[in-house]
């Protein structure tokens, strides 16, 4: 059994209804859980970008990637390990303002983690932290130890590649040049 790692899939698709279902069904059928999922418009008009993380071995993630790319309206699918990507996630922490005022350590902790306070009112204080998973979870643990956290949530991952990977826009340009496949 190969070692399981956290892989990130970057999937580009046409902006048509029902693709998300098709993409997630590929994972479900193989009993692989999606850890996080982010979908948004990409820089290419009409093309959506999916950033999906999942624990898997390489054999399995290769098969999943190919099955996803096989879907008619999926333009490209590639998988990456963390070292190949620049990764960001966002954590939101809703803290009790009275606790924050009572204990100056809380504000210091927020600064130490390079998080920012984005909204304050007499009831709650919103702290926001950008980073990678561990940093965001660490800050939660640190704040939670002060008993001040009312709510906490962490976003899905977004990522761009570090290396010179195949550019989707180049692929599409190449495709459009041909403008015809036999058959």
């Amino acid at each position: 059994m190969e070692e399981k790692k956290l892989y990130t899939l970057l999937v580009y698709s046409e902006n048509v209804a029902g693709i998300l279902n098709q993409v997630t069904a590929v994972f479900t059928r193989r009993q692989v859980n999606i850890e996080s999922l982010n979908v948004s418009a990409s820089s290419i008009p009409g093309v959506h970008k999916y950033t999906i993380t999942a624990w898997s071995d390489e054999d399995q993630i290769v098969k999943i990637t190919r099955q996803i790319e096989k879907k008619i309206d999926v333009v490209k699918a590639n998988y990456f390990t963390d070292d190949q990507l620049f990764i960001r996630e966002t954590g939101l922490y809703k803290l009790a303002t009275d606790k924050v005022l009572e204990n100056p350590e809380i504000s210091r902790t927020v600064r130490r983690y390079e998080a920012s306070i984005t909204e304050v009112n007499p009831t709650y204080t919103i702290v926001m932290k950008h980073g990678v998973t561990e940093q965001i979870i660490d800050l939660y643990r640190a704040l939670d130890a002060y008993g001040c956290v009312l709510q906490y949530t962490r976003s899905g991952r977004i990522a761009v590649t570090r290396g010179k990977q195949e550019q989707v826009s180049e692929f599409l340009e190449e495709r459009e040049k041909g403008l015809r496949d036999k058959g």
Partner: protein, 567 residues
């Protein structure tokens, strides 16, 4: 300004533009506007299509599959929404696993009623997506030309497959300015990957240095229409070739390099030789578990070359040393050009001893028995001999399929319709109906008593169309394949495999189809002769030994060289 037409009439024009001749269908509430348009387009001066009214929507999809498999054209099915649509799903899944190009057009409630649990509303696109190549809902009449052209383009190109169009009723009645469309490009879909010259060179080097090469020929060769290219490839390097069940007619049975059928009930020598070859060349096949047996021990000694049009097949089940991802119509000639002429007669001769073992132990007793009740093997062999190996073989699923595929002979390409991947009982009869609309050759359909009854309602279609299907019902009063497994692996506990049969003679009479029964060996040849000489449909019921077993057999999950010649 052009006259406006309805979405339904636009569908007729779009189907006509795709060259559709035959439609297998069944009307219903949500597809009535289309059927109303079809009324004009199936008669008189507008006539463009023959519409074959089936008796169940599942059969419409299997008939479309049989039609597609034999003709190489896209099979077409039109049904209504809800149950009409869900009834097609078995055929859609079957076509997906067996790479068969069909387009299913189903009615749907009007867009205003979508999501309201309206009468006969089902989320067809949602349920069809994982089992189809593409599924799409047509919501407006203006979309018809584009959607239909795209559907046919996707169904027939690349690795073929089923496409589902969910046609809302408002789109069927709305008006549109007819603008013909021809889709031959989808930017996100690469049907014919570009041949990688380096991969071809690497494959050629492996083959040129091989001492014991073995080719595995799949349906991809038929789908790519590369039967001649295959022959040239095999002949130049003198490579013995086994064929998958779906690839049986890709290489004629009597070709000297043909070494038989692969798989659980395939031929003995080729199964054992998969464990001895030094280079394994898979061509348009997908290493199904029914071919590989225990995949962990399968061909571990061999370098594996995999030629396939579908990149997702590479390394899916068997790890590949060299992958050539392209249409085999392109990749085979490129590879052949780099091959040395070779002679592997010694290697090929080593198959003979094992072939002889199988012939003596399995084949002769199966096709030339001298006592006891009739056997399936001898029935198949008699039909094959008397049809001068010229017929199209259609099978149902189970022992009938395994005996039929083992003992039938193939001289022409595209001569077999069988449900290989999904193993759909009930496939045979409707697929045979579809096949008769694609060829003038004899269509011989072998079925067991179980599978015959799963789509037996299609006798109505056969009666109405006078479809010349030669139905050979091999009746052993058992669901024979499961019974065989119960005997072998489940302590002979025959749990619900014995089946009471109706009087098929009376059923045949009810449908006014000629019928003959054979119980005695001495009557078999004459009965088959009479069946083949009779114009139109015919039912030949053969009373088969109840515990006739299919051999040889590799028990499920075992190694391919654990194949048993006897139980």
């Amino acid at each position: 300004m052009k006259d406006k037409i309805t979405g339904s009439e636009a569908l007729m024009l779009a189907l006509k533009a795709e060259g559709v001749k035959t439609i297998f269908g069944y009307p219903g509430g949500s597809i009535m506007p289309v059927y109303d348009a079809l009324y004009d387009y199936t008669r008189g001066n507008k006539k463009a299509f023959d519409h074959i009214l089936v008796r169940h929507e599942q059969a419409a999809t299997h008939a479309a599959e049989g039609y597609a498999r034999v003709s190489g054209q896209v099979g077409v099915t039109i049904v209504t929404s809800g149950p009409g649509a869900t009834n097609t799903l078995t055929g859609v899944a079957d076509a997906m696993l067996d790479s068969t190009p069909i387009v299913v057009i189903a009615g749907q409630v009007p867009i205003g009623a979508l999501g309201t649990d309206a009468f006969q509303e089902v989320d067809l696109v949602g349920v069809a997506q994982p089992i189809s190549k593409w599924s799409y809902q047509i919501r407006h009449a203006d979309d018809v030309a584009w959607a239909v052209s795209r559907a046919f383009y996707i169904a027939r190109t690349g690795r073929p497959g089923p496409v589902v169009l969910d046609f809302t009723k408002n789109a069927q009645v709305e008006e549109t300015n007819w603008q013909p469309q021809k889709v031959n490009f989808v930017r996100s879909y690469v049907p014919y990957p570009e041949l990688d010259a380096e991969a071809v060179r690497a494959a050629a080097e492996l083959i040129n240095n091989a001492e014991r090469p073995l080719a595995l020929v799949g349906q991809g060769v038929e789908l790519g229409n590369a039967q001649e290219e295959l022959k040239a490839f095999l002949e130049k390097a003198d490579i013995p070739a086994g064929r998958t069940m779906l690839g049986l007619s890709a290489l004629p049975s009597n070709h000297p390099l043909n070494v038989g059928m692969l798989g659980m009930h395939g031929n003995y020598a080729v199964n054992l030789k998969e464990q001895e070859c030094d280079v394994l060349i898979a061509i348009g096949m997908r290493f199904s578990d029914r071919v590989t047996g225990n995949v962990k021990t399968y061909a571990r000694q061999a370098k594996v070359i995999h030629l396939d049009i579908d990149r997702s097949e590479i390394d899916k089940n068997v790890k590949t040393d060299v992958a050539v991802v392209a249409d085999c119509k392109t990749s085979l000639p490129a590879l052949t050009a780099l091959l040395k002429k070779n002679d592997h007669s010694e290697w090929r001769a080593s198959f003979k001893e094992l072939d002889e073992k199988e012939r003596v132990k399995v084949i002769e007793p199966a096709i030339h028995p001298t006592e006891g009740p009739l056997l399936m093997g001898e029935v198949v062999n008699t039909v094959a001999e008397q049809s001068a190996d010229d017929a199209v073989l259609v099978t149902d699923v189970g022992q009938n399929q395994l005996f039929a595929t083992r003992y039938f002979k193939y001289h022409h390409k595209r001569s077999i319709c069988t449900s290989g991947g999904l193993g759909t009982m009930g496939y045979g009869l409707p697929a045979a109906i579809g096949a008769t609309f694609a060829t003038d050759r004899q269509v011989c359909c072998f079925m067991g008593d179980g599978g015959f009854q799963m789509c037996i309602e299609e006798l109505g279609t056969i009666m109405e169309q006078q479809a010349p299907v030669k139905m050979i019902v091999m009746n052993n009063n058992y669901l024979g394949n499961v019974r065989q497994w119960q005997d072998m692996f489940w302590k002979r506990r025959k749990s619900f495999t014995r089946m009471m049969n109706p009087c098929y003679e009376l059923i045949a009479q009810g449908y006014n189809i000629p019928y003959q029964a054979v119980t005695d060996r001495k009557d078999l040849a004459a009965a088959v002769q009479k069946m083949l000489a009779t114009k139109g449909p015919y039912i030949l019921e053969c009373a088969i030994l109840e515990d006739d077993d299919v051999l040889p057999m590799t028990p499920p999950g075992m190694n391919v060289d654990d194949m048993m010649l006897e139980i």
